[in-house]
Symmetry: C2
Subunit: 196 residues, 2 copies
């Protein structure tokens, strides 16, 4: 569903008021029957023939993904990657916002990046009570578990981690890991022919 949301948002931004499953499928490199099948689980999302009303579709998928309320995230680690995330404007389309940033490096504290003021990591506990329920980890691998533990104490219930190391959390906290090296390592499998 997140992928369908992205595709629908893109086509809507190109001015499409209605989209067929065929058009969405073409755009995303999928098959229309897969889209119709997936959508069928969520009741009537559109009319046969006319296609889906993009505004309705976006709002329905957002509700399914619980993106219908604004969500606030804290970022820990304002290095190159963390700064890139703070400056990235793409979160807003999903109703997500990074509203706080922390770093261990005193020299970075007070710096404004992407409109957010960097705070010292020792103050991470102050996240509690600021309406933030998601954390983004862009810290060195060896600090990831420690920071995740601190986020847990501060009431965070979902973590997006850029550290490839496995983070141990209670079951009630969802951890999604983005392991860039591993994603790159998936490519060679598909490079058929000319195997040096």
């Amino acid at each position: 569903m997140p992928l369908y949301l992205r595709g629908t948002l893109e086509l809507a931004s190109q001015g499409a008021d209605f989209i067929s499953s065929q058009r969405l499928a073409d755009h995303l490199g999928l098959t229309p029957w897969l889209i119709r099948k997936d959508f069928s689980y969520f009741g009537d999302l559109g009319k046969r023939g006319v296609g889906y009303d993009t505004r309705t579709l976006v709002s329905r998928i957002k509700k399914i993904l619980r993106l219908n309320v604004d969500r606030r995230a804290v970022l820990v680690g304002a290095g190159r990657l963390g700064s890139a995330l703070l400056e990235y404007g793409g979160f807003g389309r999903y109703g997500l916002q990074i509203v706080a940033a922390f770093d261990r490096d005193g020299a970075k504290v007070g710096e404004m990046i992407g409109g957010v003021r960097v705070e010292h990591v020792n103050g991470l506990a102050t996240v509690a009570g600021r309406g933030i329920d998601m954390g983004i980890l862009a810290v060195p691998e060896e600090s990831a578990q420690e920071i995740a533990d601190a986020l847990l104490m501060a009431g965070i219930r979902g973590i997006l981690s850029f550290s490839p190391r496995h983070i141990a959390m209670p079951k009630r906290v969802k951890v999604i890991t983005i392991d860039i090296a591993m994603d790159l390592a998936r490519l060679p499998y598909y490079l058929s022919g000319n195997r040096r």
Copy 2:
């Protein structure tokens, strides 16, 4: 399999010569039967009771994933994200290396980042013949397709893209997209209770 490779490498780095499916499962937050089932497709990877020899396991999985030969990648876009990737040391464990970097910004050309000298993007065609078959796109969304087309012309057969926009490529070129905003957007679905 990439996940199993990562888990096995981590346990090996902690000094484990043999690992059981139980230990690997615990480490990755999976179930042992799933691991045994997946491994069973690839013939005899270990002995019941003794567990898997980590060195053999790493080498077998690498072969399955075609990571048994060194792979060279080119990065386009040496901004914050691109620079973070160039300086990231985690690719080596999979036999991957970023050996060239390009940027549109003349001011960045010649700069050394992570041991790689940034070249001007107009010279992208020179990638052909340098033993590089993978490209990493860390460019603004609106340039992604154009740069991907240039990489295609330069003989690249696999692309890792950080642009959320869909990139159209011939079927023979594999494109893996990392959409960070979409990954973050997957979290709210799991944040049960306390829905503001």
